[in-house]
Amino acid sequence: MPSADTIFALSSGAPPAAIAIMRISGPSAFDILQDLAGRTPSPRRASVCTLRSPVTQEMLDQALVLVFPGPDTATGEDLVELHLHGGRAVVRAVENAIASFPGARRAEAGEFTRRAFTNGRMDLNEAEGLADLLAAETEWQRRAATKMFGGAFSAAIEAYRQDVLRLSALTEAELDFSDEGDVESQNNILITDGCAELQQKIVQLLASPPAEKLKDGLRIVLAGPPNSGKSTLLNALVGREAAIVSDIAGTTRDMIEVPVSVEGVALLFTDTAGLRDDSADVIERIGIDRSHAAMQQADILLWLGPEGEGPIHPNLIEISAKNDLKESLSKSADAIFVSAQTGAGVSELLHIVAARAKTLLPPPDQFAINARQRVFLDDAATALVACGESEDWLIIAENLRQVRLALDALTGRAHTEDLLDTVFGKFCVGK
């Protein structure tokens, strides 16, 4: 990723479209513009320019041009935006013209953001937040990503880091100066309490639900005996014929997953094979095994079988389906009564599921912690616990050092190339 290269990419959606935005970032960005447009407009002012092929002087497009001089730009480098007419051929012609400049090349996935990181415009958590923001499909995802992108998480980690530095300083004073007579040695309690307090904060952060749930959706599993109306209910809940419905018991053999957004929350509805012990069909048996596995992984379980006979699950909702028919199960008033046929109770059920889901997701005013961040926070918390368990100052100091390392890794202070590749590989080209 040589930063002396000038990179370019289409940063808006795929053509054809009304407008296509081409970004050029790097040391030659302004030179390239000068050659294409015959002039470099004044910075940060939208100007209309005629772009011409530098070879044939043939007109390529009339474009709206924005010029941002580095380092106060999104990438930290000189940056040009060309707002082209969004036809495929126009975009291709301009791309070819830019590519013909020496030192200019197409950007790799995530390279604009990576340059922003390299040039100190954002840290690793902010970069991850940006990736999430771009991928956000629901309102809750958007809010969580904005929080991360805005640097609130990084600010919290920095505060922890300051706490650890303070504790380390006290510990080091104990090790390096207490024998010299001029340092008061009453730091024991301060340090032990400080470690416990910080550990509590980190554990609290860790207790918040994982970001992956927010992104991938909570798993809402419909389960029950064959022919209890699971597939019909699924179709009613997601608003389309996703699952095949028939009167024949055992129609659904494999799991069917349907992602939907309900009240701003991403949910993944899963229909499962009906549970019965006497099936002789090998394929149906496999399906039933999968149903059991799906029920275990369910965040919320919608149980359509006899009341109280469902698996033990913290978020089980009793459903009385087929409420329009006589064959409907009689359940107590706590159950939700629905009829997929008439639509009665379906929107109520969706509302209840969404409300329950929100209790399982990071609330909008809190950070969602992703797997990478969780590993380091876990390390930090474990080392802090070890601080409290040891009476050896050296071991306490070593554990505090481990906490510092973990927090540094979290913000990307101590980084490896692999880590950066992982984080930046998530971006599409043009970001």
Partner: protein
Amino acid sequence: MTTDFDIIVVGGGHAGTEAAAVAARIGLRVALVSFDKNMIGAMSCNPAIGGLGKGHLVREVDAFDGLIGRASDDAAVHYRMLNASKGAAVQGPRIQADRKLFKASIQTQLGSLANLHIIEGEAAALHFLPNAPTRVAGLVLGDDIILTSVAVVLATGTFLGGKLFRGEERLVGGRVGEASAMLLSQQLRGADLPIARLKTGTPPRLDGRTIDWSQLEFQPSDDDDWTMSSMRSRRSVPQLFCAMSRTNAETHDIIRSGLHRSPLFAGDIEGRGPRYCPSIEDKIFRFGDREGHQVFLEPEGLDSHLIYPNGISTSLPTDIQAAMVRSMTGLAQCDIVVPGYAVEYDYIDPRCLDSSLAVRGFEGLYCAGQINGTTGYEEAAAQGLVAGMGAASKILAQPMPPIDRTNSYIAVMIDDLTLQGVTEPYRMLTARAEYRLRLRSDNAGSRLTPMAISAGAVAGERAVAFQERLLQQSALQSRLRETVSADALIKQGIAVKQDAGKMSLFDWLRFPQVSIAQLLALDSESWPLDLLMELEQDGRYAPYLARQDAEINDMAANEQIQLSPLMDYSAISGLSHEMVERLAASRPENLAAASRIRGITPAALAAILVHAKRAKIAVVEAA
């Protein structure tokens, strides 16, 4: 071209003597130039060697067969293990030395080195040949005699542009009664080296016969029989005690009454003093609310009545010093023999040095000791060792011994100095060593003597002793590989958990309640005590060391990425002005070193990495 010497060392202090001695041990022809050959090996400040972090340095220099450890034992009138109640990795051996015995030991040790020549004279200037203005060719003495050499090590201490302050008095010199190296200082300033000023101070020397010892608390020498050097098996000098007094409210009032006459507060001293070893007026000014500060009364020698009051370094006028001393318990009648003073001196920003302490931009010029902005005998001795080995390795075209932050305090210090520079006199602390769990003062020999032997820096006597110890060590290590069950230990009365199962004796050592003596039971007496203690500690922290290994491997990977000393940091986009300045000043040798420079962010590091890779590709393509 034949030169008079291979290496000329300027200065006979702790840095200069170690530099000269190690180069001579390696087999080079060395000249040690000093104003006064009787002052070689003098302890110019406190009569103590070692302490926290510093004791580690002494043991490490000793592991390279240096002088300071043996001289300490030859002169020690008082032994104390600091931090004795804490983990072995932070215990600091410290001794009080008889000044005369210390100096005598250094001079005797130097005298035994056949190819070391001591030359009395003033180092007036570096000698250069007209056609090679950056290649050092020798030294010009005060009487215009030129000594030629391939390398020169400057270990001039506080003598470079040294200036003494005491109240309203001003003197030129490095120590009371000795001249200062002004000419050399002017030459170095003229050569565009980054030179700035630091200051240090020393307390008044007291007449012990006028102290009322009956009023004071004593601190006797340790009962144990540990020594500083592994080449000294027992304590040979009669032991004395130290005593403790304290400053009090009256002392503080007296000091405050003289503050306006202190050169420190009158603004006459521009150099910054050591935060970790402040003058008493500084302590009162900054921590005036404290009821009192401890003062250690340290004997200067067996046949000396001088007492060194550790803790009241000062440059106040003589009359204030006298009143201040007499306000303290036990010192009501005390006479001052030599009043305290402050020294301001030139130091070279050590960021212009490479890891062998060679000055970048010159060939054959090395700097060691206080001239590099450090304080303390031990820090000086360790740098002398590195500069001496650096110059010798260069001349012999052999690699430097591979010291780094994971194997020695010496390398931690060199790395700190050459990468971060100093803002105050640098003092070693255990907190500076991130891998200190493995850097104990009791395992310095195991860590470093093998590489010292490879470098040819170890004389025969120690090499033989070390081989013998290695044999014992590996025998004890295989004994510790034998396994024992929890049940067996419980039967023996050792409190371990029953479900801990069976493991090697070494693995059992990780539990603090299990001692090596208990594990070995009957045969524990057949091993040397220091070896038992060393391996016991190895076992204690083994799990933590294993955890650090991944981190150390990461660092090693970044060490493989070399950075050119000519790299143009200002051409790397994304580096702040401040980062460019720091990187250009210290010119890190590899990416791992760059990552340690304060204020260098991961983003900056990524940018440097990219730039370095590109530069490398460019070089390959050009070739």
